[in-house]
């Protein structure tokens, strides 16, 4: 058994990369070259890091409107992501999908959908295909605290509770659905993971500010799904720093308190991991600079690639409505 700290270096790199990518997207959005709604994951990078540690390349993943971190954590191609935001032919969906519709089949990132909750049954269907194949892959579904309010969530959980499939539900509870806090949407004394447990699916709760505990629990959750070929629901409390949709801040709208935001920022999991690595001499400040430089270089190349790529051409005869 590995010490938890042994995971820190890798997860740090993955999370740092996600943070820097999102920041670069945020910085460049004003140029009006990326012209599609985008939901950034800054503050919520830990899940992207976790999946990079414990999911295998051929495990299925399917995500939501807030998918950048999941796509990158799963190993999705960075150039294809940035090009997709630019609407270029080299985008992962050939510019047809935008930020909310990412795919990278090479790493079994099967798609991300923009209708809240709609990826959930599809992920269960993928898990059912794994079961039929008798393989030992798992299917990983990302979802937010808002999506559990959709009927299809209950239908999907019920289905896999009665017909077990290797499904890992990862619910990032960031306390908000757009600007509406969770206490206006769900009874305050009802915890999501407890409710799901009572529906018949084994559940975990983790707090992204407690990194060791989160890593241990997540590892356990993945292991349980893979070994027992049964579903698990993994709820993780987290926080989005930026506006719900877009590259900026939206705190002038006053839907959440400054204190709440600053407390979460203070507890930034990425900073925390960095601190632990430095303290334990697993990383030096020079190395951090090097890592940052390397990632920034990669990001610059991806943006350059997207800029230089061609736009798709509209073909009115063959619009690719159907597969042949």
């Amino acid at each position: 058994m590995k010490n938890v700290i042994d995971y820190y270096k890798k997860i740090y790199y993955v999370m740092k990369r996600i943070r820097l990518v999102e920041e670069e997207i945020s910085k460049n959005y004003k140029h009006q070259k990326m012209r599609c709604p985008t939901h950034l994951s800054i503050g919520q990078e830990l899940v992207g890091g976790l999946i990079s540690l414990f999911l295998k390349k051929n495990d299925f993943a399917i995500s939501t409107h807030r998918a950048h971190a999941h796509y990158l954590g799963k190993g999705g191609d960075l150039k294809a992501l940035i090009s997709e935001l630019y609407g270029k032919i080299t985008g992962c969906s050939k510019g047809r999908g935008g930020s909310m519709h990412l795919i990278d089949k090479k790493v079994s990132f099967m798609g991300s959908t923009a209708i809240v909750g709609s990826n959930i049954p599809i992920g269960v269907g993928l898990a059912l295909s794994i079961k039929f194949d008798k393989s030992n892959k798992i299917s990983c579904i990302f979802l937010g605290d808002g999506s559990i309010e959709e009927g299809v969530f209950f239908e999907s959980v019920n289905f896999t509770a009665v017909k077990p499939t290797p499904t890992l539900f990862i619910c990032e509870n960031n306390n908000y659905s757009v600007y509406t806090p969770i206490h206006l949407r769900q009874p305050s004394d009802r915890k999501i993971y407890e409710m799901v447990e009572s529906l018949g699916v084994k559940s975990f709760l983790a707090d992204s500010r407690d990194i060791n505990d989160t890593i241990i629990k997540f590892k356990k959750a993945v292991k349980f799904v893979r070994e027992n070929k049964q579903p698990v629901f993994f709820e993780i409390t987290t926080y989005r720093w930026k506006e719900h949709c877009g590259p900026n801040e939206d705190d002038h709208l006053k839907y959440r308190s400054e204190k709440e935001l600053s407390e979460w920022k203070k507890a930034d999991p990425l900073k925390e991991i960095e601190k632990v690595l430095l303290k334990n001499h697993l990383l030096t400040n020079i190395q951090i600079k090097k890592i940052t430089h390397k990632i920034k270089d990669e990001i610059a190349k991806a943006f350059d690639y997207a800029e230089k790529s061609e736009f798709p051409k509209f073909n009115s005869v063959n619009i690719d409505e159907y597969a042949n």
């Binding site: 399917i62 599809i122 269907g125 019920n158 409505e321």
Partner: protein, 348 residues
């Protein structure tokens, strides 16, 4: 072979050809086996490939999309078209979009079988056929068989198509018997069938309305009226070439849909025919379908709700301005209007 037997035959053939074909839906392995259409599938292909499910249409369609992404060819059955309305999100926003939206990288081979109820008090929520809605959704194929033979051929083509297919079966087709080719017999999707050639008038119909149109033809042929009857088979994509060719020849058109005439397939056919065949038209095109209101339950309220062979003859009579004495036919009607034949005793 009757209609359910033809569907059952197609399922057995598809499932033996390809191990990836899966059949699921509420009741597929219950004692009634979806009017017999899924008879002996579970026994023959095992409970993994043929399984009953919770009553969760939206999730079930999503699960089908996931299965398709995972390399399977699912066939989902819903005992009524009305029930699938709970799954519109998964059909329209996911299954239909997947191929295009993700840069043509994955496709969704997925059949959704929907049975349309009619008569004997099916009423407001057990008799609807919203095939025109789905025909309005790019990425879907919408298939509407009109006989056991084309049902078998179209279902086999649908299962082996690479795209999501809405397969619409009218309950009143179920007791029709005809000779059906054996083995892996396919009828192409997107190609209409010219049931009878003619020169005076073109009738275009789908599903059970084709049965009514065929009945009308028997009568009209005797009267030496030369009708061309086209059965659409699929309402997305529509075989426009066959339609234009026919109307350019006859100059007259009756377009019949098997649901409300309002914003129907028939409406679209007439719009396009006016555009493409304008100079060849001898009369204004005629549209037929169900009235544009909610279907009632009572025996007394459902009379004349559906077009039938007599109302088709009536339209032709006024179009050609000849007396066809259709009123006499009405007097001769023996079967009550709300059942396909005396064999039907309800409830569904």
């Amino acid at each position: 072979m009757n209609f359910p037997e033809a569907i059952n035959d197609a399922m057995k053939i598809a499932m033996s050809i390809d191990k990836k074909v899966i059949c699921y839906g509420l009741g597929v392995d219950d004692p009634k086996r979806i009017f017999g259409t899924t008879k002996r599938l579970k026994e023959r292909f095992g409970p993994e490939r043929v399984f009953d499910v919770p009553t969760s249409e939206n999730a079930l369609v999503g699960i089908g999309t996931g299965l398709a992404l995972g390399g399977y060819k699912p066939v989902f059955v819903s005992q009524r078209f009305d029930f699938i309305l709970l799954a519109i999100d998964q059909i329209v926003n996911a299954a239909a979009k997947w191929f295009y939206m993700f840069g043509s990288k994955n496709n969704i081979p997925f059949v959704i079988r929907l049975i349309v109820g009619r008569g004997w008090g099916q009423g407001p929520t057990h008799s609807q056929s919203y095939h025109a809605w789905f025909a309005n959704v790019p990425g879907l194929k919408v298939v509407m068989p009109s006989s056991p033979k084309n049902a078998k051929g179209l279902l086999l083509s649908s299962i082996f198509d690479k795209n999501p297919v809405i397969f619409v079966e009218n309950r009143w087709l179920y007791n029709i018997n005809e000779k059906v080719p054996t083995g892996d017999f396919r009828v192409p999707i997107g190609k209409a069938s010219v049931i009878q050639e003619g020169k005076d008038i073109t009738i275009i119909s789908n599903s059970f309305m084709t049965v009514e149109a065929k009945r009308a033809l028997k009568f009209l042929n005797d009267k030496k009226i030369s009708c061309e009857l086209i059965d659409l088979h699929t309402v997305r994509p529509v075989d426009w070439e066959t339609i234009y060719r026919s109307v350019n020849k006859t100059g007259r058109l009756i377009a019949i849909d098997s649901s409300s005439h309002n914003l129907s397939i028939a409406s679209e056919i007439i719009t396009r025919v006016i555009d493409k065949c304008w100079t060849k038209l001898k009369n204004k095109p005629v549209k037929m379908g169900l009235p544009d209101h909610i279907q009632p339950t009572s025996f007394a309220l459902t009379k004349n709700f559906y077009p039938d062979y007599i109302s088709i003859i009536k339209e032709i009579s006024s179009l050609l301005n000849i007396s066809l004495e259709w009123k006499k036919l009405q007097e001769k009607q023996e079967t009550p209007h709300d059942i396909p034949g005396t064999w039907f005793k309800g409830p569904f």
